[in-house]
């Protein structure tokens, strides 16, 4: 390879490496496809982070203790920690991963979504801190009418 081309390639690679991970928009369905096919929360977490070890602190999670409609369970979660990603998992559906938020420089980490739960179970929200550690919060709830089969 011509030296000039090689140099510009290297510089290009360096420039990319310098961009902080939190600023890149990340499609986690493409980046980590096995997270979405995992059946258990543990497997989904292993595929996403390489570990299931979390510090059960720093994350606030609110969900009803009894959900009347399993097709639309309101889930509210937030964290003040400096985060890279925030993921929602549950053990009440065929696959465990619900969604993954890719945190960016503008993010204020307070979110609300409505999820499907096929039966009663536990929702786990995991915050991947920029410090390299995982933080989580769990909530177990009863679902009156399963919402996965719809």
């Amino acid at each position: 390879m011509e030296r000039r081309k090689f140099l510009s390639l290297t510089l290009g690679a360096l420039a990319l490496a310098v961009v902080p991970a939190s600023v890149k928009a990340e499609d986690y369905r493409k980046l980590k496809p096995t997270v979405w096919t995992a059946h258990t929360v543990d497997d989904a977490m292993k595929n996403m982070y390489g570990t299931t070890k979390t510090i059960e602190d720093g994350v606030k999670l609110t969900a009803p203790k009894v959900a009347s409609n399993g097709g639309a369970v309101p889930v509210k979660f937030s964290t003040k920690l400096s985060a890279k990603t925030i993921a929602v998992f549950q053990d009440a559906n065929p696959e465990a991963a619900v969604c993954v938020y890719s945190v960016n420089e503008y993010s204020v980490n307070e979110y609300e979504i409505k999820i499907k739960m096929g039966k009663s179970g536990t929702i786990t929200v995991v915050v991947e801190g920029t410090d390299g550690k995982l933080y989580s919060a769990k909530q177990t709830l009863e679902v009156a009418l399963g919402g996965c089969e719809g």
Partner: protein
């Protein structure tokens, strides 16, 4: 031309832009597709929810079949670089490659 619409309502309050967005999509799971359409491969649901203001990414969610039908997303982002009148553009992609789009002016 987008395949489905996304309603976007951003509000600027005390330097933070709070958003309520709703995508008009059935979010059909594999099990639902099998039961109702006889084919798991007909399952279609939003897999990415991406929002930008003036070209800057302010929300990026990778999603699954387990969000509710016509999913509502509530989220917030810092407003220092943005102002009322700026448009929040939401673009969604689904498993089968369909797209949803919506815009909302920051009020």
């Amino acid at each position: 031309m987008a395949d489905f619409k996304v309603k976007v309502k951003p509000k600027l309050k005390k330097g933070v832009i709070k958003v309520k967005a709703m995508a008009k999509h059935d979010m059909v799971t594999y099990n639902q597709a099998e039961k109702k359409l006889g084919d798991r491969e007909k399952a279609d649901f939003i897999t990415r929810f991406l929002g930008t203001v003036n070209g800057k990414v302010v929300i990026d969610i990778s999603t699954s079949q387990f969000l509710s039908k016509n999913p509502i997303f509530k989220f917030q982002f810092k407003g220092d670089e943005f102002k009322k009148g700026d448009k929040l553009i939401i673009e969604c992609t689904t498993r089968l490659g369909k797209t949803g789009k919506g815009k909302g002016k920051i009020k």
